[in-house]
């Protein structure tokens, strides 16, 4: 299924987890639980040692995954092994993509990712202006390249992104890095208005924590919601309390269901 298709019928729920957090095996279970809970696509983080765009929650997930031995090659193995039938988006930082394989440049990794079953990329430290080589590799191997639109993105920069984006656009609902917040920002509507004419689905992320948030975001016009920290919190808590993988997986599935249902509840009533 293509990325865009994941948004086709109804508001999409796109969860994020860091692959390998807190261990390779548990993480496989967690990702599968999200799919069971109703994920329409999954952003699967490939941990980088300097995650400058992440909030504390996801940063710590990345440290756990790295400490447990996650590497780009293990990640690809993970992608091949995980048993879900929704598209997987690789979320990582540019240096890992750039360094992979024998020759510098993104092509090797994109090829390997495509082979493993990745459908697209989100690269938070790669602005559209620097994205040429990655866009080309994605085109070559039929992958999507998602960009993040911030509340502050304007003018020429919006244009550059619009030209390059595919799959969906990641709309950052508020200023700051990732991290669950209790309030859904006013920025959402305004942000969506600025990209109303883009012909890709609009997924809104940053700070969505509950089904209620999800509902309000969708009601504000989003085609889907992206949720990271609220899920990573569950993984972290389970890890700290020594809960079993099954218990944590169940919690994730339940949270996923809540969020998906929230998104559905926000969907415009068919007229």
């Amino acid at each position: 299924m293509s990325l865009e298709a994941a948004f086709a019928d109804e508001p999409a729920f796109v969860p994020y987890l860091a692959a390998g957090d807190p261990s390779y095996e548990a993480s496989i279970e967690y990702v599968e639980a999200l799919a069971r809970g109703g994920a329409d696509a999954i952003e699967l983080g490939l941990p980088f040692s300097e995650p400058i765009a992440e909030g504390t929650t996801i940063q710590e997930a990345i440290v756990r995954a790295l400490d447990a031995g996650m590497t780009p090659d293990r990640y690809l193995e993970f992608v091949r092994e995980v048993d879900v039938d929704v598209p997987l988006v690789c979320m990582t930082y540019y240096n890992l993509i750039y360094q992979y394989g024998e020759s510098d440049g993104p092509r090797s990794f994109v090829e390997a990712a495509a082979e493993a079953g990745i459908e697209g990329f989100v690269v938070p430290d790669l602005p559209a202006e620097e994205a040429g080589p990655l866009r080309a590799a994605c085109d070559e191997f039929g992958l999507d390249l998602v960009f993040i639109v911030a509340p502050t993105t304007e003018g020429d920069r919006l244009e550059t992104m619009k030209e390059q984006v595919s799959g969906y656009v990641y709309v950052q609902a508020r200023l700051g890095t990732t991290g669950a917040r209790d309030e859904v920002s006013d920025y959402t509507e305004r942000s969506l208005a600025r990209i109303a004419d883009w012909d890709v689905p609009k997924a809104v992320g940053f700070g969505i924590k509950t089904g209620d948030h999800a509902e309000r975001i969708v009601r504000a016009g989003a085609d889907g919601i992206i949720v990271g920290s609220a899920l990573v919190d569950i993984v972290a808590e389970g890890y700290e309390n020594g809960d079993s993988t099954e218990v944590v997986a169940d919690r994730l599935e339940a949270k996923a269901r809540e969020l998906k249902e929230g998104a559905l509840a926000g969907a415009p009533v068919e007229q």
Binding site: S49, A53, Y98, Q99, D125, Q172
Partner: protein
């Protein structure tokens, strides 16, 4: 983004989208105020660097070293800058720029604490609220600098994620900035990060070579044969080199921290050195493409050096480019050589250098034969901050020229 943001393939603006507007606003401000001296910005900067910072700083002939090496050795005395290192050139420039931009708040990261103290001083001087992010581990290791920052009225925010060192502090500062770009300026500590930081920090630091180039001609009626500066991120380095880059007869040496060894432990992701120019590979870190210490996957390695201020896995993109062009020679000396050089300069010249600085003098000791008749070494900072480290590290080693501190062990007090 204009092509000015790149140095060959290096540089660029690899930052989260949320920061791009801030980066663009800053680029605009850089071009107007710094490059075009709008509203007399650069005049005010220079004036404050004179009155508050103490510039111009001397270019001093090092009598004992000149004799020792049968070479005319000149010292550019950045150790005399207010705060004790070249760091204020940059910190004051950026805080002043923030003021011109109408920002109301300053944030910065710090590792060893030198950039944090310089920023806190500049912010106090210009009456700007200031918060410094510093890893918990670094806070414990660098307490005097923490107290200096607090004394200057800055908040020091302990960063408890990860290993609690510089990397995490940078991430945390970027995170703050991403939330607060509208009223806040992030004062980055070296010629690193996304454009315009590498160019802008270099321009502020270039006062060093602007003065030195004039001074050496006054003193010797000639240009030097070689110019040496230590290189961590590379800000004192670019500051010292900038005005000599066009002088093709002048050899430029960037002296990195060779640490305990140049080899790396891929398994642990640890490089026992910080020699990114000498041994690193191209990659993207903290907003810029540059030379990095990374493993074969592209994960950033932990670097190591006896000198905290050189202990960084990246380096300024312009330096990486100048090295590729063959204009700058990347060299390095190990911890032992740096410590010996620390003691040598202290004993022979009466100048206690920062451990960072000592690396440049270590290279001078080992290679003075190949440096020509006249050499300038940048004394990037003073070593008061390093005394504890030096005593400890000297105690673990068998150095020829280390003073005996043992009698003071018997006389009470905390420092040994």
């Amino acid at each position: 983004m204009s092509t000015d943001s790149k140095f060959g393939e290096y540089g660029g603006q690899y930052v989260p989208e949320a920061l791009m507007p801030a980066i663009e606003e800053l680029t605009d401000a850089y071009e107007r105020y710094v490059l075009d001296n709008e509203d007399g910005f650069m005049d005010e900067f220079r004036e404050r660097m004179a009155d508050f910072g103490g510039r111009p700083l001397p270019l001093q002939r090092a009598d004992q070293l000149s004799q020792r090496y049968d070479t005319e050795v000149y010292l550019k005395r950045e150790d005399l800058l207010h705060g004790g290192a070249h760091k204020l050139n940059n910190a004051l420039g950026q805080v002043l720029l923030a003021k011109y931009m109408g920002k109301e708040r300053i944030i910065a990261e710090t590792g060893a604490g030198q950039h944090g103290t310089a920023t806190a001083m500049a912010a106090a001087h210009l009456d700007m609220p200031c918060e410094i992010y510093m890893g918990e581990t670094d806070i414990a290791r660098q307490r005097p600098n923490v107290f200096r920052m607090r004394t200057n009225g800055a908040e020091v925010n302990p960063v408890t994620t990860g290993r609690g060192t510089l990397k995490e502090a940078i991430s945390e500062t970027m995170r703050d900035w991403a939330r607060t770009v509208e009223n806040t300026h992030y004062v980055i500590g070296s010629v690193v990060g996304p454009h315009p930081f590498p160019s802008m920090v270099r321009d502020f630091q270039a006062l060093i070579s602007e003065e030195a180039r004039e001074q050496i001609q006054e003193k010797t009626s000639d240009l030097p044969d070689s110019v040496l500066a230590c290189a961590g991120g590379g800000s004192n380095t670019m500051g010292m080199f900038h005005n000599f880059v066009e002088d093709e007869t002048v050899d430029l040496y960037a002296v990195e921290a060779g640490g305990s060894s140049l080899s790396v432990d891929e398994e642990e992701g640890v490089a026992p050195n910080s020699a990114s120019l000498s041994t690193g590979e191209e990659g993207v870190l903290h907003g810029a493409r540059t030379k990095l210490l990374q493993d074969s996957d592209g994960q950033i390695m932990e670097s190591h050096s006896v000198s905290a201020g050189l202990d960084y896995a990246g380096v300024g993109p312009e330096l990486a480019h100048l090295v590729d062009e063959g204009r700058v020679e990347p060299v390095n000396v190990d911890d032992d050589t740096a410590l010996e050089a620390f003691h040598r300069l202290s004993q022979d010249e009466g100048i206690i250098p920062a451990l960072e600085t000592a690396h440049a003098f270590g290279y001078l000791e080992e290679h003075h034969d190949g440096l020509g008749e006249t050499v300038i070494v940048n004394v990037s900072g003073r070593g008061d901050k390093d005394l504890e480290t030096v005593i400890e590290e000297t105690g673990n080693r068998d150095l020829d020229n280390a003073p005996d501190m043992s009698i003071f062990r018997e006389i009470g007090g905390g420092m040994l």
